[in-house]
Each structure stands twice: as C-alpha cells, then as structure tokens.
C-alpha cells in the first residue's frame, strides 16, 4: 500500500508539469481567432447562391448571361420554389449551428436579443452591423438593411444583346434570393419565422414576438 502511495504521489508530482506545458501551448492558439478576409468570405457567399441556382438550371436553358444569377428569372415557377426551399433549408441549419454558442438566458428581454442579432450575428455574416432598427413597442421589430443590394451587379448586363428594358423589373426578382437566405439564417438562430419585404433595394426583416 505504501509503495502504491509513493508511486501515486510521484505521478501526481510529475503530472502537473506537462499540464502546464500543455496550457502554455494551448494559449497562443486561442489568442489567434480564425479570421478570413472579408472579400473572400463575401465571394463564397455569393457563389453558394449562384451554384444552387445553377444546379436546377443545368439542362433546361440555353440562355447564358455573364451573371449566372440572371438564369433564375427565366425558370418555371415550380423550379423557383424548389430553389428557394433548398436555400431556406440551408439557412435554417446554418442558423441553428451558429446559435450553439449563444446562451439564451431567460433574463434577456426581447429587445436585448434583437440588439444581439443586429450587432453580433449580423457582424458574423457580413462584417458590419445592421443599418437601423425600428419597433412599435408591441413585439414587432423591423431591421433595415440598405447596403446589401445597393451595388448588385445585375445592372451590368444591360450591354448584352439579350437585354430588354421591359424585363428589368422582372430581373429584380433575382435579388430576392439573398434576403430569403439571410432571413432563414436569422430564423434558425431565433427558432421562429422571419419574414422580409423589399422595396427599392432596401430590405426590411420583420420579426414578431
């Protein structure tokens, strides 16, 4: 028994030293947060949406614009619904995974949770806060985003031969894919449905409690 005790004491004495070394090794890794360039992250975000559109429009269409997003508005309505469904499924699963770090305390009011979304969750996605927040103080919140679609590259295709000025209003329909995706992410984060409206390229997300 004594021998065993001695051995155990020795191991206990020896054990803290490698633990300290491990701790010193771990700390610098934690000090460097995983960061990526903003433009690179944004390019991949756009490319995911375009690639989902191109999955459903591989064989059906001969129309081949420089901006592949424009393929969307010439598809059938059934296929358009399928595209939006897959984007929303992706968005909700992403939102649920993002919300694993977030401790939803019962002490937080609705306003505090919404502020957390405006400042931190939106910053994770686009690298900036949301532009403005409005409420009616009865449980409905309006989040405005003016920058996301302001410089979208859909207008660049006006020089093409296929372009008709009468179709430009239909082409704006393609831009609905972005807020559909982001609204699903926010909805997955909060576990409730988030709707949106779009007017003059200003998106308003509507959250009801």
């Amino acid at each position: 028994m004594e021998l065993n005790n001695e051995v155990s004491n020795k191991t206990l004495l020896n054990s803290p030293i490698p633990k300290n070394e491990d701790a010193s090794n771990v700390v610098p890794i934690e000090q460097q947060p995983l960061t990526v360039d903003y433009i690179f992250e944004n390019l991949i975000f756009h490319e995911t949406i375009i690639s989902v559109v191109s999955l459903y429009s591989e064989e059906t269409i001969q129309y081949n614009p420089t901006n592949q997003l424009l393929k969307y508005y010439k598809l059938n309505e059934n296929i358009q619904e399928n595209i939006i469904k897959t984007l929303q499924q992706m968005g909700t699963s992403i939102g649920k995974k993002l919300s694993l770090d977030f401790n939803n305390n019962s002490t937080m009011t609705h306003l505090q949770i919404i502020k957390h979304i405006c400042k931190e969750v939106y910053h994770k996605i686009f690298g900036r806060q949301i532009d403005s927040l409005k409420t009616n103080h009865q449980g409905i919140f309006y989040l405005l985003d003016k920058q996301l679609l302001a410089n979208s590259s859909i207008d660049f295709d006006k020089s093409l031969e296929n372009y008709n000025p009468s179709e430009s209003q239909k082409q704006i329909k393609c831009l609905e894919l972005y807020p559909n995706f982001v609204a699903a992410v926010l909805g997955g984060y909060l576990d409730r449905s988030v709707t949106f409206t779009m007017e003059n390229r200003v998106i308003t997300y509507i959250i009801k409690y």
Binding site: P33, L34, V36, D37, E41, E47, I94, K124, I125, G127
Partner: protein, 219 residues
C-alpha cells in the same frame, strides 16, 4: 528570425530578384515574402470570423451530394468550377492590395513562395509548406496539422472516403482561376487529403505555361 532582419531588405531584394541565380535558392526573397505576407495581413482591416464561412461551405457540400445522388466525381467537378469563378475575381483584389510592393516572379519557385506565404496568409490566414519537384516541375503545397480552414472540424463518413470526395477541392479551383487571370495556364490537382486517411494533404500545380498573345490568322 523575421524580426532580426532589418527593414532595408525591401530595397535590396528589388534589385537582387532581377539578377537571381538559377540553381541556388534566393533566401532573402523568401524572408522578404514572409514579412510582406504578415504585413499585408495586419494592414488588412476587413477581417471576419471564419465561423460562418466554414458552416456555409459544409452545408453547400451536403446540398451538392444530395443533388447529385452520391456521384462524387460530379461533386468534385462542381466544386472546382465554383473555385474558378471565385479565383478569376479574387486575383484583381489580390493585385489591388499587394502589387506595389511585390517583386516579380522569375521562376516557379518564386511563384510557389508567393502563393503560400502571401496569398494563403492574406485570404485564409494559414501558410502551407511549399515543396518543389525539380524533375517534373511540379509545385506542391502541403497542409500540416489541420491548418486548412475549410476542413478544420470535419469528419467524412466511410462511403465518401472510399469514393475519394475531396472536401476542400474549391481551393484547387481558386488557384487555377487566379493563375488564368494573369495569363498562366496550369493543371491544379488535389492530390491527397488527411480527411481520407492519407498522411498529409497536398495540392499539386503542374504544367504551368504562359499564354502568349497571338494575332489571329489572316490579320
């Protein structure tokens, strides 16, 4: 190592790179590129937490597999096409951030060093090890210890391990698209991956050729 080198190396490397000796490696150039990569990375103010990127990429790969019904080769192809679209735009951004300071690439070794030390550091915040195969002239970029951001917390099921799904094949496409933006034709292959049980993950860049401006026939 890096801190001991004085800042005057910037002026010296500019002249020495033009008169580079072919066989001996240009050590001053490597050190300078390492400095440049860290400097550009710190000056770049627009940085984002990588969490959202890794999660969206994972869900995208899942959507692709579901859509193609477990046809892995089509999946790899599609990921590479996406990478080409991204890379052809990314090269413009790279030159807008870096080109005033960067020395000209005289040989394939310089190309590999700038790729690993500057480009990967700037955009993905990781530095793969650069190896050069002299006989066949292949540039190898090796990722050690799960540095690669895309495949950091990923495990693949056994089905896709046997079918060789290259999870982060988008990087190969990005490199190929970016090189085609500066008139270099190349074949980029994702050679091996640690996710599939290989000892290390490597990207091979082979057959790098310059595309010459040719006058069309009859003019």
């Amino acid at each position: 190592m890096v801190s001991s080198v004085p800042d005057t190396s910037i002026s010296t490397t500019g002249s020495s790179s033009s008169a580079a000796i072919k066989n001996s490696p240009n050590y001053s150039n490597v050190v300078f590129l390492k400095q440049l990569g860290e400097q550009v990375f710190q000056q770049n103010m627009k940085k984002i937490n990588a969490e959202f990127l890794t999660i969206t990429y994972g869900s995208l790969v899942k959507v692709l597999i579901d859509h193609y019904k477990d046809d892995v080769e089509k999946c790899n192809q599609k990921l590479k096409e996406m990478g080409k679209n991204i890379g052809s735009r990314l090269i413009d951004d790279f030159y807008s951030k870096v080109t005033t300071q960067i020395p000209r690439c005289n040989n394939l070794k310089d190309l590999g060093n700038t790729l690993s030390l500057v480009a990967f550091k700037l955009y993905l915040n990781c530095v793969p090890k650069f190896l050069f195969d002299e006989e066949e002239k292949i540039i190898k970029l090796r990722f050690d210890n799960d540095i690669n951001i895309f495949s950091k917390f990923v495990e693949l099921p056994d089905e896709y391990k046997n079918k060789r799904l290259y999870y982060s094949n988008i990087i190969a496409g990005i490199i190929e698209g970016a090189l085609s933006g500066i008139a270099l034709k190349s074949d980029v292959i994702y050679f091996s991956d640690t996710l599939l049980g290989d000892p290390f993950s490597e990207i091979h860049i082979a057959n790098v050729k310059r595309i010459k401006d040719e006058v069309p026939m009859g003019q």
